[in-house]
Structure formats: C-alpha cells, structure tokens
C-alpha cells in the first residue's frame, strides 16, 4: 500500500509525465534506429524518471536528459552505437524537440484526427502495420506486394500525417 505522501508524489509525477509523454516518445524515437528499440528505451526512461523523480528540477529538460542518456546506454549495451549521432547533432535534436511547446494531449488528438482523414485503404494499412507482432514481410505477402513497396507506402503516409499534424496544430495556435 502507498502512503499518502507517496500517493501525492505519484499524482504529481503522473500529471507531468502524461503532459510530456508524447514529446518524449518522439524524441526517443529520433535517437534509436527501430520502433522496438524506442519502445524499450521509453519504458526504461519512464522507470528511471519515476524512481528519481522529485520536484526540484524542471521536469521537461530533466526528462529529456534522462531519455537521451537511456537511449545511449541502450544502444551501447547492444553494440549498435555505431549508427548513433554524435553529441553535437544530438544536442541540436534535443533542443529542437524540447522547443515544441505543444502538449502531448494536443499532439495525440491531432494525430488521431489526421488518421481519420486518411483514405480508408491507407488508414487500414497503418493500423495493420503498427499492430503488435505484425511482420512486414508477411503483411506484404498477404497484400500481394513487395516489402519495399509496402515500406514506401508507409513512408508516404507518415509524411502525409506529419504534415497534417503540423497543420492542425498551427491552426489551433492561430485560433487560440
């Protein structure tokens, strides 16, 4: 059972974490080569954040710092760090990612709206491709396409979504 103080700490933490979760997730994704890696680093990051959380530091930069550290440690452990960007580019990405002031909630909602705007076939492709445990080669075979054709389609859809999210958020800011 948690004590009242622990409960309180948990509440404050959860609020901050949820607020910055999407931004962190995106940043982590930009640092590691695959989605699976990003999931693991994100889990590890969240665990460390919770363990070390106190109110003394500004949450967002602190959390980004932890995420960066965890991503590097993860890649080093798996000897995949040859592909990792150097300190300079990483710092630039960190600054850029932190600057995006929008909240996780807005970003998530924008992505959801943009998904709904996709043509049905494209939306279904995304939903299938990102479902847990799906293998691209199998998906390609069942769709009667080459894996490369599938990767390219998904690439185009991601770019469309990125543009759409940007646009949606900009419009919101203008209205606000």
């Amino acid at each position: 059972m948690m004590t009242a103080a622990e409960n309180d700490r948990h509440d404050r933490f959860l609020r901050l974490y949820v607020e910055h979760e999407e931004a962190l997730r995106g940043f982590v994704r930009s640092l590691v080569p695959t989605l699976e890696d990003a999931r693991e680093v994100m889990q590890q990051t969240a665990a460390v954040l919770w363990r070390k959380f106190d109110d003394s530091a500004d949450f967002r930069p602190w959390a980004f710092g932890v995420a960066k550290f965890e991503a590097l440690a993860f890649l080093r452990d798996r000897a995949r760090d040859r592909h990792v960007f150097g300190d300079e580019v990483m710092a630039l990405l960190e600054a850029e990612a932190m600057e995006a002031a929008r909240s996780s909630e807005q970003e998530e909602r924008a992505l959801e709206q943009c998904l709904q705007k996709l043509p049905v076939a494209q939306r279904e492709l995304v939903e299938t491709a990102y479902a847990p445990g799906v293998r691209m080669d199998e998906l390609a075979r069942s769709a009667g396409r080459t894996p490369m054709a599938l990767y390219k389609s998904l690439h185009r859809i991601r770019m469309t979504l990125a543009d759409c999210v940007q646009l949606t958020l900009n419009q919101k800011e203008e209205r606000a």
Binding site: H10, V18, G26, R29, P33, Q43, E88, L111, L115, V165
Partner: protein
Amino acid sequence: MKSSDTQMELVRRYLGGEATLEEARKLESMLAVDAQLRRDYLAYARVEAGLSSKVRPKLVKAAPRRSVWLSWRPLAAAAVVIGCGMAAWWQSTAVAIEVLAAKEVNFRSGDRLSCRTIELEGGELTFRLSSGAVVDLAGPASLALLSPMHVRLAGGQVTVDVGDQAKGFVVDTTTARVVDLGTRFGVSTGVATSTDVAVFGGSVEVYTLGALADRKPDVKLVEGEAVRLDKSHAPTRLKMIRVGEGGQKLAAHSHADVVSGVTDNVIEDSFRGFYGLMRGGLAEGSPVYTSGHTRTWHSMPGETFPVELLGADVICTFSQDRRQPDLEISLMVERASDVFVMLDTRAAIPEWVQREFSDTGLHLRSGPWGVLPTPTGVEENGYVTHAVWKKTVMQPGVVTLGSPESASGRMWTAMYGIAVKEHR
C-alpha cells in the same frame, strides 16, 4: 515536409534500421547544418512513435464498441490512481477493460476502467480487453496491461480466452513468453522462478526468453497439454493442473485438497498431456477429459445425478490414455477417501479393478461423442455408459490405477473417468 525526397528517404532508412553506417553519417552531417531537416526529422519520428502507441489491434467488425472504448481515454490517468495498481504504470499507456465478473474484489461486473496494472491480493477478476480477449485473474496476482493484445504476469495465475478475435495475444512472465494461436490457455508464475502454461483449447507457442531472439518457440502446445519452464531448463511436462469451473481455467492451490497430486508412468519426452483436477466439480455437465471438452458427465436418461458422486473431485484424463496398455496413474490422496473409476461398460472390466474395487451399481454417461473418434457401437453424437466402481482408502497415500484395457480389450472404448470424495 519541406525537406527533399532524398533527405526524407534517408530518414526513413535510418529510422527503419536499414541505413548503412555511411548513410547514417550522411544524415548526421545534414542534420548538423539543416534546421528544416531537423524539424522534419523530429516530426516524422513523432508520428511514428505516436502511431505505435496509438494503433490498437483491429476490432473484428464490432465497430460500435470501438467508440465506447475510445471515449474512456480522457479518464485514463484518474482511473489508474483510483482503480488499478500503479507499480508498473509506466510500461504502457493505460488499457481499457470491462469487468465481466468479480469475486471478493472491489470491482463490479459492468465496471469500465483503464488500467496499467492490476494487483489482486485475493479473489478473482474476469475482464475483457478491447481486443476481445477475456482474462481471468486469480489473486494473489500482479498483471501489467501493456496493450489490448499484450499482458505481463509478474506473479499469480491468469487464464486467457482469446476467442477468434485476438489471435496473437501475448502473455509474458519473467521466464517466458506465451503467444496464443487462437485459443484458451492458462499461465501461472511464481516470483522470477518458473512459468507454467496449460492449454484448454486451440494452441499456443511458448518461448523462453533466450529463444525469443531467434524467434523459434521452445515448444508448441495444443489442447490438453501443459509444461513448466524454468530459466535454465528445457520445458518439462506438467502432469497435473488444478482447473476451475468447466475445466477450462486455472484454479488456485488449496491446502484443503483431498487429492494433492496426480502423476503417471508415461516417459515419452514429447508427451505433454495433463490431468485436470477439478475440486468438488463432479455434477451434470462436468468435463470428462482435458482435451475434447465437449464430452461431459451426465446422469442416465430419466435419472438424477447420483448423490454419492455429486461434488466429488473430478480428475479429467485424456482420451489418448485408453490406448496405453501399461498405463499407471497414481493419485496422492491426503485423507480417507472413496476413489471412483467410471468404466466404459462395453469393455471387459480390467483385472486391477476387479481385484481392488467394488461395483457401486451406479452408472453415468459420457458424451456427446462426435464422429471422430467413433468408438464401436456408438452413434454419432451418442453417449457411452460407464459403470461406477469404488475403492475406499482409509489412510493418506498413493492410489495406483491401471490401464483401461484388459488383456482382451477392444481398441475403441472410452478412457475411464476418475473421481475422489472424502470418505465419511
């Protein structure tokens, strides 16, 4: 995206894990000097990360439900604090559940909430995930909900019925990963030691964590099979599983058990059938076997279920047993008990039964038997009559049962049933 197609193609390859070292360096040098590319790169990464956390397994055409699930999302953070455990909350975003049944737990049937983990000190909770999978959790247990298709059992036992909708459902423990292939199965784990897996229908693939890397399952189990996985050892057959209602879910161990163990003399490595011990379960409609659950016990036509047998512990056998001429099944009996065997009346009475058991004069029927396998003389969807024989043991100890076949036995007879009731 304002960056060029060539640049974005490089981004795709890098984030897809396809980029060569040279390509990674090229992207890095471009990112170092191009603020627009950095923005596009991050926007692209955010979309990808967002999709991975957003996209849920597709619901099978039951579209109306989807909107209901989604509409709870804003409540997620609050519900975690109120309703569900928080120990491992970070492992995913909260997952929506609908409580179907609860016993000694502070949720009620019909409750809808979002959880990241569920901690049960005791009691039982049955809930449905948006993937359609129905999860039975028996306390004490700790279960992390990673997605509607993926849970992690930190301790305790869980039975999952994935139905037709959630093939590919995954249960992780600290020692193994169980991937369902359309089925109903149970997983039980202690603290970081071993994992038990039993399949009640369909089939599953089981991976120890070591095997996960090369994507080859250590073992594939089908209905009626069970194994234990330790961190260091190959899967070993679990000979007995305690089952609950209908013989199709795991039940908790109890010190009050009259039968504390069931084993046999089968040594074949590839054989993984389990005996199902169902406490107090014998009644009209209770299961006969651990595979082929459609075959159940029934009273004779026009009669009520014999009182002497009602509420006895049922030991579900597997029907392959009937072909084992040297079979010995041993029951560990903890108290003075009546041990019943229910014998197919079409076959000769095995010698070991004649020697040690007495005929109670009672009869039960098993069935319905489908077309395959068709024991001789049984119609399609017919019933087999069993004569009930009894042996009373006054001391705790091992009771050994033999093969269903007498020396002159026919091939197509049904495996006998077993039941045990405390002697009064």
